[in-house]
Amino acid sequence: MTAALLLPAGLAALAALLLPLLIHLARRTEVAPIDFAALRWLQQQPRPRQRIRFDEWFLLAVRLLLLALLALWLAQPVLRGSADMTPWVAVVPGADVRAARAVAGARAVWLAPGFPALEQDDLPIRAAASVSSLLRELDADMPPGVALTVFVPAVIAGDGERPRLSRRVNWRIVGGVMPEAAARAPMALTVVGDGGGLRYMRAAAMAWAPPGRPANFAVADPAASLPPLDRRLVWLAPGPLPAAVRDWVRRGGTLLLGAGIVADARMTPVWRDSVGAPIIEGATDGQGRVLRFARVLAPAAMPDLLDGDFPLRLAALLGSRTEPARVAAADHAPLPGGPTPADAARDLRPWLALLIAALLLGERWLATARRRALAA
C-alpha cells in the first residue's frame, strides 16, 4: 500500500505556510504602546532579545496544519495497492461447481457477464458469452498480483484466439459441459411494401433459418400495426415514411428502407460492392438503427443480390450475432503477457476534504474561544 501524489506540483502551495507565520510575527510586534511615565527608570536591556516567540502556538499549529492539508489536497493524493488481495476463483458456467466451492478463502464468481457470486446457483443462462472476452474483462478488473483460478468444462465458447492476460491463470479443467445458449431462433423479418424486392428478402430470411426449420418471415401492410422491436422491419413501400415507423426506430427498432425513401438521419455507406459503390447505407437514430438500400432491389442495379453470401452480409448488418466458437478448454488456456491493467488507485481527496472541514471548524472554535477569553 503506497501513497502517491497525482499532482506533486500542488505541494508548491505549501509555500502558503509562510503566510500565517509572517502574519503572526507581524501582528505580534504590533503591540499597543503602554503609557509609562516612569520610563526614565526603565533601562533598555543591554542586548535586546531577538528571540522569535510564538503566542497561541496551538492555534498557529492548527492553522499551519490546515494550510498543509489544503496543499496536500491540491496535490491529489491517492493510495495505491490498497486493493483487496484475496485470490479469485472464476467458474465457467457448466463446470463442476464442487471443486470450486472446495477452494477456501477465495472470492468465487461465475465467469458470466456481471460476474455473479458463485453462491448463486440458479445462474440465469444468457446468451453464451465468450469465455475469452469475460476472462479479459475479469483480468482488467482485478488488481494486479491477485491470483486467479478458473474452473472450466472440457469444451468452452471462445472467440478464436487464446486470450492473453496480464497474470498467470490457474486453468483447471473439470467435468461438465458449458450450456448452450438458448436455442437461437432465426432472425425475424417483417417486410412491408412492394413485390419487387420482396422475394429477395424472403430468400434471405429462408437462408438464415436453420435446416429443417421455417423462415421467420412475414409480410405486412403499411397500415398494419408495427411489429415488436426484436423483429427487423424492411420498409419497401414507396412514399414518405410514417411518423409511427420513425418512433418505432427511435425506441430501438432496426429498420431497412428501400432505395429512395427519405429518412431523418444522415446515412453513411456501411456495405460497398467490389467496385466501391454503396449497397447499403446506415445510421443510428435514437435507440435504434436505420439502414437503406442505396440502389433499387433488382439484380440489374445490384448484382450482389444474387451473390451467395448476400443473406449472411445482410444478417451481419441487421445485427445477427456470430455464433461463438467452441473450443477444447485444454487448448484455450490463457497466455500470460497481456497488458497490465491500470491499477485503480483510491482517491484520498474526499477524506482529506472531510479532515480539512473538521480542522477548519476546530480552528474557528479555538480562535473564537480565545477571543472570548481575551475579552472577558
Partner: protein
C-alpha cells in the same frame, strides 16, 4: 453635578481629618485656628435669628430693644487657613493601570482635591485650587462654603491631563496668589524635576507644602508578563522591553529614586505621602494630616 468626584465610602472616612498648618499645630493651645465659633471674632458678619441653644450673651440686646426680637450677632471668624490644592495636569497624570483604565492619576487627583475641599468646608476653612497646565495656570481663588465647593467641582471636572509641566514663567502668578503661611498640597506624580523644584521653592518661601505622589499600580509592581512597547506620554520616548526582564532593575531604580525624592523633600521640610491607585484616597490624606508623632 453629574457624578461625585469622591468615591463612595470615602466621605465618611474623611470626617476625622483636619487640615492643619505647621504653624497652627505649633500654636495649638492658643486656639487661633481650632475655634469654630463664629460669634467670637471681631469683624461683624451678619445678624441672624436667635435659635434655641445660642448663648444668651451672644444676643444683641440693643437690637432686641429696637425690634423686640432676639438677634444673634455673628462675626466672620478670621480664617487662618487657606489650603491650596495644586494639581499637576501634565500628560503623565493621564496614566492609568490597564486593569482599571478610568481611574487615572488625574481622576484620583480630582478626588483628592474634592476631598480636601470637603474637609476644608467642614472645618470652615478656605480652599483654593490651581491646575498646573503648560498652556496656562487655572486658578480658583480661595473661598469657603458650599459655593466654593461647587465651583471647585466644576473646575475639577474640566481638567484634562495633556502636555508637560508648566515653565517657571507660567508659574509666576502663583507667587502672587499663594501667600505665606498658606497650606499648599501638591498632587502630582513628582516625576518631573520642575514639579519638585516648584514645591521646594514654595517651601523655602515660607509656604507650608505637602505633596502627594501619585503612583500607578504598574509602577509599584511592574507586573508586566510579556514584552511591551513602553512610551513616555510627555517626551514621547519609547522603549521595547520584556516585562519580567525589566522588572527587577526597574523596581530597584524606582525605589531608589523615590527614596531620594523623599530625602530631598524632607530636606525642604515638605511632608510627602504616596498614593497608589489601588488605595482609597483617604490614605495619603491621613498620612499628611494626622497629628505628627
Amino acid at each position: 453635578m453629574t457624578q461625585d468626584l469622591i468615591p463612595a465610602g470615602v466621605r465618611t472616612r474623611l470626617r476625622g481629618l483636619r487640615l492643619m498648618t505647621r504653624r497652627a499645630t505649633r500654636l495649638a493651645g492658643i486656639g487661633a485656628h481650632h475655634s469654630r465659633s463664629r460669634g467670637a471674632g471681631l469683624e461683624f458678619a451678619q445678624y441672624r435669628a436667635y435659635e434655641p441653644g445660642d448663648e444668651p450673651r451672644a444676643i444683641d440686646w440693643k437690637l432686641f430693644a429696637r425690634s423686640d426680637r432676639f438677634f444673634v450677632r455673628e462675626a466672620e471668624r478670621e480664617s487662618p487657613l487657606v489650603a491650596w490644592v495644586m494639581i499637576d495636569c501634565s500628560a503623565s497624570m493621564a496614566q492609568a493601570d490597564r486593569a482599571k483604565p478610568t481611574w487615572s492619576r488625574l481622576a484620583a487627583a480630582k478626588a483628592l482635591a474634592a476631598a480636601i475641599g470637603e474637609i476644608a468646608m467642614a472645618q470652615g476653612d478656605s480652599v483654593a485650587m490651581v491646575a498646573l497646565r503648560d498652556r496656562g495656570l487655572r486658578l480658583l481663588p480661595p473661598g469657603g462654603g458650599r459655593r466654593q465647593r461647587d465651583r471647585m467641582a466644576i473646575e475639577l471636572h474640566g481638567l484634562v491631563a495633556v502636555g508637560g509641566f508648566p515653565a517657571a514663567a507660567t508659574l509666576a502668578p502663583l507667587w502672587e496668589r499663594v501667600a505665606v503661611d498658606h497650606l499648599v498640597i501638591m498632587v502630582s506624580d513628582l516625576f518631573d524635576d520642575a514639579a519638585v523644584a516648584l514645591i521646594e521653592r514654595l517651601a523655602a518661601a515660607g509656604r507650608d507644602v505637602r505633596a502627594i505622589q501619585m503612583l500607578t499600580v504598574e509602577e509599584r509592581d511592574f507586573a508586566f508578563a510579556s514584552g511591551h512597547l513602553f512610551r513616555d506620554p510627555e517626551t514621547g520616548a519609547e522603549l521595547i522591553g520584556d516585562g519580567p526582564a525589566l522588572r527587577d532593575g526597574f523596581r530597584q531604580r524606582f525605589a531608589a529614586a523615590r527614596a531620594k525624592l523623599r530625602q530631598r523633600l524632607a530636606a525642604s521640610d515638605i511632608r510627602l505621602a504616596d498614593y497608589v491607585l489601588d488605595e482609597t484616597i483617604d490614605v495619603p490624606l491621613r498620612a499628611l494630616f494626622s497629628a505628627p508623632a
